[in-house]
Symmetry: C2
Subunit: 157 residues, 2 copies
């Protein structure tokens, strides 16, 4: 009986994998976001000390952050500085004075299908549905408690 249960479970897993393959697809690592208390100090570090290509900082009032990108060729670091009193990264920075790695962003094909299937796996999202992110594409954040302590942003590829 145990063997039968196991084989049914394995079948369900295989089916679930096949269904997922059809419904959505995990893609490239888009960026690693780094929360910084002082944008110009951080930009200077990545540009002058590490020798990276660093974009101008852009204030995004509707997201409560200023952003600047360090272009590493295959992927980017996204520097995030709090903007305004309701910035979503203020709590993170209060707990880590210096700053730190805030989240990773992975591209997916067919984001709405991904969200639906992730919810079936009991992975919660931080908003009811995808929203337009800092890069003008639909994004959603997965709850870090459901992702091994990692804040994962999914972005429509």
């Amino acid at each position: 009986m145990a063997a039968f249960t196991l084989s049914v479970a394995a079948g369900a897993r295989a089916l679930s994998s096949a269904a997922r393959d059809a419904a959505w697809k995990l893609g490239r690592l888009n960026h690693v976001a780094i929360a910084v208390p002082e944008m110009e100090k951080a930009r200077s570090f990545y540009r002058e000390v590490l020798g990276g290509r660093v974009s101008e900082a852009v204030p995004l009032a509707e997201h409560g952050v200023s952003t600047s990108f360090v272009e590493l060729g295959n992927a980017k670091l996204e520097l995030l500085e709090p903007l305004g009193p309701d910035s979503p990264i203020l709590g993170f920075l209060r707990s880590r004075g210096l700053g730190g790695i805030h989240h990773i962003c992975i591209e997916v094909e067919r984001l709405p299908a991904a969200v639906q299937q992730l919810r079936a796996h009991r992975v919660r999202t931080l908003s009811p549905g995808p929203q337009i992110g800092a890069h003008g594409k639909p994004v959603i954040f997965l709850h870090p408690k459901d992702c091994g302590g990692v804040l994962v942003e999914l972005e429509e590829a």
Copy 2:
């Protein structure tokens, strides 16, 4: 006089940039390392729930970790599980029960020159010099307090 000082400082910066360009070069994002308390649970999450390509876990006793990679095409996630009582990630995991993003690894051309120049910028390293890392290449970790709270691994490209 202030203008003269400024222009000398700008000249020194330009020279420093040029010297750095000649001496070493920042490269691609190699991986983002994620500390996990239970490797098989983490591998299952990235494979079954997120649909990633996840390699077998490999114990690396000399580094005090087991590693498994999630291949995202342009870059990798490196899952790190503590191995042995002296594992270097035990402290990190004690402070974050669930796990979390541990470090980023960026490739560089001419790692010894990079280390020399970073030290001139007062960026400390966690070891006296490069060591052979988990992938068989020379690596060095930069002190997170000198990198805005981010643990940065540099790997010879």
